[in-house]
Symmetry: C2
Subunit: 123 residues, 2 copies
DNA sequence: CTAGGGGCTGGAGCATACTCCAGCTCAAGC
DNA sequence: GCTTGAGCTGGAGTATGCTCCAGCCCCTAG
C-alpha cells in the first residue's frame, strides 16, 4: 500500500504516518524501487488498535513502549499482557467517571430546563 | 479561603488556579487587605465540575465559553443547557468506544495468556 | 521530452494546557 | 525590628502531539 492509501484507510494524515514511524509506533515499511514506502496490509489493523489505545487515553510514550515490545516478538508476551491489563484498569476507571458525568449532565440539563420554564412563564 | 487551601481541596496547583483565573475559568475572587485572593467556598464545587468536564474531554476553550455564560446569569440558561446536552452526546460516544476497547483488551489479554502458556509448556 | 503529481527528508512551527521563575510585598512570630 | 513564609505579577519555558514547509527526486501520461 502507498502512504496515501494508508492515510485514506486509517484517517491519519500522511504527515502523521511518517511521524508515527519516526517515533517508533509504526515499523518502517519496505520501500519500492523509487524509495517510496510500501506498507503491508496488516498495518491498517495495527493503526486501528493504536487508535483505540489513543482514544482511551494511553499516552504516546506508552504506546511507543508497547510497539517496541511487539517488535521483539514472543519474548515480550508477558510484558505486553501486563501493559494491556494495566491500561484496562485505567479505562475501567475512566468509564466509571464518564458514567457519573453523564448522570450529572442529565441532572444539570433537567435543572436548566426547569429554570428556563420558570423564566418564560414569569414565575 | 486562601489559595493554598483551594489548591489542597481541589488538587489543582496554585499556579493552575491563577492560570484558570487568567483565562476566565474561575471568577477573580475578592482580595484581602494585603491584596491576596480570598476565594468563596463555592469555588470548590465549581472546580470539581470543571474537572469532570475536563476529564470527559471538553476542551479548555469550550469550558471557558461555559464559564463566561455562567457569569452572565439567567440570560444564558438555554445556551448552557445546549452546551451540556451537546457534550453529553460526545461523552456517550466516548463511553461506547471505551466499552469496545475494554472488550478488546479482555480478548487480547486472554490471547497473550494462551500464548504464554504455549511458550512455557514448549508446545 | 516535459509537465504534473506523489513522495521524500530534515527541520521549523503550532495548539493546548499548564509550569516555573525572578523579583517584589506583606504580615506575623520571635 | 527582622526574618520567614505565603502570596503577588508578568513573562518565559515545557511537554505532548502533531502539522507544515522548502527543496528535491521519481514515475507516468500526453
Amino acid at each position: 500500500m502507498k502512504i496515501s492509501a494508508v492515510s485514506k484507510a486509517t484517517g491519519l494524515s500522511i504527515d502523521t504516518l511518517r511521524f508515527y514511524e519516526k517515533i517508533g509506533l509504526i515499523d518502517p515499511p519496505p520501500r519500492d524501487g523509487a524509495g517510496r514506502r510500501d506498507y503491508p496490509e496488516e498495518v491498517i489493523g495495527w493503526i486501528a488498535f493504536l487508535g483505540q489505545l489513543n482514544a482511551t487515553g494511553m499516552p504516546q510514550a506508552e504506546r511507543v513502549r508497547y510497539a517496541e515490545r511487539r517488535r521483539q516478538g514472543a519474548a515480550t508476551y508477558t510484558a505486553r499482557r501486563e501493559m494491556l491489563a494495566a491500561h484496562r484498569e485505567v479505562v475501567r476507571a475512566k468509564l466509571a467517571l464518564m458514567q457519573d458525568t453523564l448522570a450529572l449532565m442529565d441532572r444539570k440539563v433537567a435543572i436548566y430546563e426547569q429554570l428556563e420554564a420558570e423564566e418564560s412563564t414569569d414565575v
